[in-house]
Amino acid sequence: MKRCWFFFLGVVLYGPLALSWGAPWWAVALFTTIWVATLLGCLKWGTRTQVIKQLPLIPCPQTFDPCPALNSWLQVSGDLLIVLPKKSADGTILLVGPGFERDLGWKYQDIVGHSWREFIHPEDVGMTDQTLRSLETGLVQRVTNRWKHRQDQVDKSTRWVWLEWAFLAIETQDYIYAHARNLTNRFEREAQMATWAMITSDLMAVSDTAVPILERKFEWANEAWTRHLGWSLLDLYGMPIISLLEPMEKDSVIKAREDREQPEAGIQEEPYVCKIRGKNGIYQVYEWYAVHLNGKLYSVGRDIGADIKQQGKLQSAIADLEARNADLEKFASVAAHQLRSPPRTITGIAQALKEDYGHLLDAEGLQFLNDIQDDADQMAEIVEGLHRFSTVRTKDDMPLTRVNLESLLYDIRVSKYRRGILRKTDVLTWNHLPTVVGNRVLLQEVFVNLINNAVKFNESSPKKVHIAASPRGDGRWDISVKDNGIGIDYHYHHKLFQMFQRVHPQYKGTGVGLALVSAIVDRLGGDIRVTSSPGQGATFTFDLADGSTLEPGA
């Protein structure tokens, strides 16, 4: 603008000088006309395209001291600043702050001299234009629109950033000052939240904790309410929340909410379970998690109907199994009872026959009677073994206590010698046996069976059985029962612990003993294994938990 005034001054001074030098009047008039036209053009051009090439933004009067400092701040500011001409239809940008380069990649020269319309999302141009046109001086006007990111120029991808603008036009200046905040992060986060809320199958709701629980309404709810329960969001807004509760549960749920909103309750609540009514009147079960924050209650309800159904199924399956187990136990016990009588009476009757009518029979007839008795005896043993086996498997009143193996073995040894199972020449020894966790009755069954076998399948003289213990290092002991008997072929080892498997058919037996031992060891949390080969004796090893740290009374 200043240059225009120099033109004007030049014309004013040039006229009188030229006349005084004797120039013809028409020549002076012609020149003056040209000068005036040029001057007018200069003025018009100045208002249209004059660009403030560089900062400072604010023309600083010498008397306004903070101004240079303010300009320095603007230079370093990351804010998005723009100056537009107040009266310009195309919206040429006169000046931008450095934030545009930092935030959006646009250099100063990319923007200055261009119209803002080139950068704004086409859908937002109209609204922005209207705002700019209707600006009142001295009043801040806001508008939010999308601004093109420079990325767009680099890889042809379309990226927009959300900017919230504040425009201010000043009475005394021809400029509009514009400041923008980049809301993209917040908008994206909000968009993500909204998307999650829309697609999740959990019910989400926001309500106001300042409102009493009985009158509390939905302030916001997500689409899951529609998908799961059939409520439209319009139905929900304004509806008292408690109207969705199951009448029987209502009081307890209200109580649960009241407890959770006590001042001492944390912002993150213990979950609680309640039913919610669907639009069709059918209730579904949800587990509610909630946070109350700044007077709002944010709740999320997880549909646990399927879980409950699953649990119900599981529970009924367990109950079913328990009932079947009880039936089996009853069956085993009754069967053992019922099966005990026949072999007993058979041997009794055979004995009676032998005694009362034996004189009528020849040797073969007596042998038949003996065979009857032998088989009945065998049957009685099997029944007895089965009964004990079923007892070990099913009986639950066998508490685990400390069992001192040395004292147990001492009692067993006394009984074995007394009953003649061990002859005087046989040797049953042990060294340093620990106290273990077990049950005396069960462990007695284990040792009696193993010792009986060690003596039974044994042709040595003297028969030797040795019991030893070694710590495994994991709080359990390996207990081994070693004999000098006939041994067991490797091929049959896997059959040893199976019910009714007899690997030495030439000896009397039922095939129940080791199955029983294995079942007991299993019940005590251990495993049993055997090392043996024919003629080399056998060693049965099983593990038991150390009992030295167990309370004596436990």
């Binding site: 009872h337 005990r340 009476t345």
Partner: protein, 143 residues
């Protein structure tokens, strides 16, 4: 030795068992008048003298099997102990069951002794011998 005839009610559902018990008692040399009830209901009827057993004399001793059809030994024992006339009657449980729950229940219900029937015939004979020696020869029973 003066011999007294004792009247014993044997409640036992298996005739084979009845015969073996009868034989063992005979073999032991005790003079007994053995009355048989083949189930718990019949045993109670005989003891309470109802349903056609009005003329049955009261036994001195009851030998009671624990597992019987219709009414089992436990129920018979409960009824006997509840009955003001019968409550003092000596009842000896004679059964194959060695189940400790049965033993405990039998004593809880007030049996006087619990005997198991061994598989071995000789051991069974010994049991009956001992039973007779104590309950028929030694113990004084209520009239």
């Amino acid at each position: 030795m003066p011999t007294t005839t004792h009247r014993i009610l044997l409640a036992e559902d298996r005739p084979q068992d009845v015969r073996l018990t009868q034989r063992a008692l005979k073999k032991a040399g005790y003079q007994v008048d053995l009355d048989i009830a083949t189930n718990g209901r019949e045993a109670l009827d005989k003891l309470q003298r109802v349903n056609g057993y009005a003329k049955d004399p009261k036994p001195d001793l009851v030998l009671l099997d624990w597992m019987m059809p219709l009414v089992d030994g436990q129920e018979v024992l409960q009824e006997i102990r509840k009955d003001p006339v019968l409550k003092g009657l000596p009842v000896i449980v004679l059964t194959t069951s060695r189940d400790e729950r049965d033993v405990r229940n039998a004593y809880d219900e007030g049996c006087n002794a619990y005997l198991t029937k061994p598989v071995d015939p000789e051991a069974f004979q010994k049991t009956i011998d001992a039973l007779g020696l104590f309950w028929l020869k030694t113990a004084v029973l209520p009239k």
